[in-house]
């Protein structure tokens, strides 16, 4: 039990994908202008990432390893992610048009989120169990959502600030992200 908790905490804070490992920066910068959008992308990513991590683990353990096809890993994982994203979109459109209207815009974006692939790859590197892979995927996604929403709220506040001209827009966003990353460095060593 405490081990699982540790995996979660480690994935959410200590090895936060965005602020510590600098993965998935494109959606982090692109979809963080409004809190509501950030939350939408975060929820969609959480769903896809968790599912993709588990499926990739299954693919790795039951298909690629027994067949000695590990060199096909990246292609296989990308394939799985694309399928999961498309599948999610279709199911959502059919069964919950409202949710689709809210999240629909972001779903295709997730396919290109390198964090998703990274989680799948990292999870399979350490010969872990399905549950661990699932937890790692989920934790990474929660960490992503958390910093995305925090950052979006921060950017909403910065939009109202009297920022010097040369730093307006993307510049101040990157500086802010940098200081947030500095703050997350405080978690270094937590195991």
């Amino acid at each position: 039990m405490s081990e699982w908790l540790l995996i979660l905490i480690s994935a959410v804070f200590v090895n936060n994908f965005v602020l510590v490992q600098f993965l998935g920066l494109c959606p982090f910068m692109g979809v963080s202008n409004r809190v509501i959008n950030a939350l939408g992308l975060g929820v969609a990513t959480t769903f896809v990432l968790t599912l993709a991590a588990a499926l990739s683990h299954l693919l790795q353990t039951y298909v690629l390893m027994p067949l000695d096809l590990e060199y096909l890993r990246i292609i296989g994982f990308i394939f799985i992610i694309a399928v999961v994203v498309q599948f999610t979109e279709l199911v959502m459109r059919r069964h919950s048009p409202l949710l689709h209207q809210v999240l629909g815009l972001y779903l295709p974006l997730i396919t290109t989120n390198c964090a998703v692939l990274a989680v799948a790859l990292l999870a399979t590197q350490h010969q872990s169990t399905l549950l661990v892979a699932l937890l790692q995927g989920f934790g990474a996604a929660i960490g992503f959502t958390l910093v995305l929403v925090l950052f979006a709220a921060m950017r909403e506040r910065l939009e109202r600030a009297d920022i010097p001209k040369p730093f307006q827009g993307a510049a101040i966003a990157f500086i802010t992200a940098g200081i947030m990353s500095l703050a997350f460095m405080g978690f270094a060593g937590v195991t």
């Binding site: 925090l150 921060m154 909403e156 009297d162 010097p164 730093f167 200081i179 703050a183 405080g186 270094a188």
Partner: protein
């Protein structure tokens, strides 16, 4: 507005002055134990940061004098100076002061606009860039010649030492700890804080929430692993706990607006401080805890849009 009502008038400069006044006793004690190095730190940082401030105001074509005279930069410089070990190389001091002033405050538009506590930004930049010099709290006075290493190394290093012990798997009680200089300094901060509370410069929500949550978190940790941690009684008076609770976390610019959000903010800082002290690579967690909770302030502000009064 109309001055016919005899309302107490206070200005921004007035508020900052009061905070600096409350910092004096603790600073005096620190100088007593660590020597004039503390004063050197504070003065260098003040000079550099004020120079930065004047430079930025000049670039932005705004009057520099009122910006300097409001005292906000001086106060931040003082706070940063208190966090740095004496004898820090000059260039490190300059880097710290410049990151505090420019990165922490002026890129965001100056007074009132910065989302992160400038002093803590400066501190974090220094701590991550120069971890070795930043954790060497060896006093330059006769303490360093003393036979017992523990006497020459004071409390920030008690936390440091604690980390070493923990790494080596040793129990805290196998070594005698003499943290009392730091305890005394913390008591001085506490009195300064009480002065600010009495003057109405700060309100009780953030410090109390922070100290309470730190005590609870530490108590739980102590209850689980009694031999690896300091007893809770001395924890609240160790490190920069009181300075953080009354002077750093209460910075109004980077704290949330509503009282409920402030309670959460304080509690978050307290909890994260203890978590980082106990588990992370760094001996003191307040700076990171404040910065981390600063990240959450805009979201907290967005969640609590009305003030709740008792």
């Amino acid at each position: 507005m109309n001055n016919a009502f005899s309302l107490p008038t206070r200005s921004t400069g007035n508020i900052m002055m009061n905070v600096m006044l409350a910092l004096i006793p603790g600073t005096v004690l620190m100088v007593y134990w660590f020597g004039a190095g503390i004063i050197v730190n504070i003065s260098v940082i003040m000079l550099v940061s004020v120079a930065c401030e004047a430079f930025v105001q000049m670039l932005r074509q705004r009057p520099a004098t009122p910006a300097i005279l409001d005292g906000s930069m001086l106060l931040a410089a003082w706070l940063l100076g208190l966090c740095l070990p004496p004898g820090l190389p000059l260039f490190e001091l300059i880097i710290g002061a410049a990151s505090m002033s420019l990165l922490g405050k002026h890129v965001f538009g100056g007074l009132g606009q910065n989302p992160f506590n400038p002093a803590m930004v400066g501190y974090a930049v220094l701590l991550i860039s120069f971890p070795k010099t930043m954790t060497a709290w060896i006093s330059p006075t006769e303490f360093s010649q003393a036979a017992n290493a523990w006497d020459s190394i004071t409390q920030a290093t008690v936390l440091d030492r604690l980390r070493d012990l923990e790494r080596q798997g040793l129990s805290v009680y196998e070594h005698t700890l003499s943290p009392w200089p730091w305890n005394a300094i913390n008591v001085a901060w506490l009195f300064g804080g009480l002065y600010l509370l009495a003057r109405g410069i700060i309100r009780w929500h953030i410090p109390i929430a922070m100290l309470l949550s730190a005590a609870v978190a530490h108590g739980l940790h102590y209850w689980a692993f009694p031999q690896h941690t300091l007893p809770p009684s001395s924890m609240l008076l160790s490190g920069a706990m009181m300075l953080g609770a009354f002077f750093i976390a209460t910075d109004p610019v980077t704290a949330p607006s509503s009282l409920k959000a402030r309670l959460l903010y304080g509690a978050g800082i307290g909890f994260i401080t203890v978590a980082l002290r106990s588990f992370s690579n760094y001996p003191e967690g307040i700076a990171f805890a404040v910065l981390l909770m600063n990240c959450a302030v805009p979201l907290l502000d967005r969640c609590f849009v009305l003030e709740t009064k008792p």
